[in-house]
Subunit: 216 residues, 2 copies
Amino acid sequence: MDTRGRPRTPALSPELIAREALAMIDEEGADAFSMPRLAARLGVKAASLYNHLDGRAAVIEAVRRLVVEEMDVSAFDSLPWLQALAVWGRSYRAAFARHPHAISLLATTTISSPATLAMYEAVVTALARGGWPREALVDVLTGVESFLLGSALDLVAPPLMIDPSGHVPHVPVLAAALADSPGSDKAARADRAFTTGLEALILGLERRLEQETAGA
Amino acid sequence: MDTRGRPRTPALSPELIAREALAMIDEEGADAFSMPRLAARLGVKAASLYNHLDGRAAVIEAVRRLVVEEMDVSAFDSLPWLQALAVWGRSYRAAFARHPHAISLLATTTISSPATLAMYEAVVTALARGGWPREALVDVLTGVESFLLGSALDLVAPPLMIDPSGHVPHVPVLAAALADSPGSDKAARADRAFTTGLEALILGLERRLEQETAGA
């Protein structure tokens, strides 16, 4: 947009910096991410970055925002919490699966940006409306999110994750289970495992809430 | 042990190489792991490593074995699958929490070593004995493991994972839930979220199996 008088490169902005940082993490891994290297990719001095985003943590938060924007939070406004968790969960896993190197980085840095906080607000508000007591909201949110992050890791695992060849006589049940696991396609198998886990987790949370409510 | 005639350094062995590789990953991160750098840490030529472990994948499998040896698989022999999953799950998360940099590396490389295959054999054998049909075993195993890996990531997250300060008026439910989340201690909160998720997941799997068995 801002090309008047600066035809060579787009003007530096928090959005542009975040997009380049995410591209860098996607291409080179989270450990390769540093402010000097990000500045080099953008062809600017590192100090210029600080005019737009206040340090490394702020860049990581801007990256998180880009990933969170790929998630579907709308269901929490329109569906009961059980179904909304399922819709959000699928989009959450899909977003992180597109940015696998960002998983461990974003899972281990403090969340503070308004966009991400707004997503969590939508989740816990729906849980509270569904009857979850306030003191359980963070536990339920964190427990579900752990499953989603782990599932995103599984989605980027190699096609053959468990290879029993050469050891089949020692692991007969496992070998038969792998051979019988329907669909040779890795994505289909990962999807099925995700659905099994997500449905069980949500079913278990539903039962747990029923028990709490009955006991209260 | 093998110090006769070689007093300076312990003899190179697959075990020693794996321990040094895990220490390297723990200290420097998974992306820093390479065969030349591992050889340098051990003070040997890279070619020497290949006399003991057949390449990078074999070293990673040897590292996985060390992590797996920290997990408690014994419960699958003595307890019903529901309780055994809970015991194993706690030890699984604890083992990866001690080696957080290994999580994404081991979650995304093919599993082929006898020790790790034996652990999975114990899990799926217990599930099958509990009544799970053969074609569901891998899905249940993978779904539970995704939760455990994600929970290990959460355990190494910073003390304040969600920081709503400065935005509290926009996220009132979240801010109140965080303020009301019992225990200011990060480990206690992570433990509670883990327990909430694991119990819900296992409860949901129990219900699902009951439904499948009733429908069959």
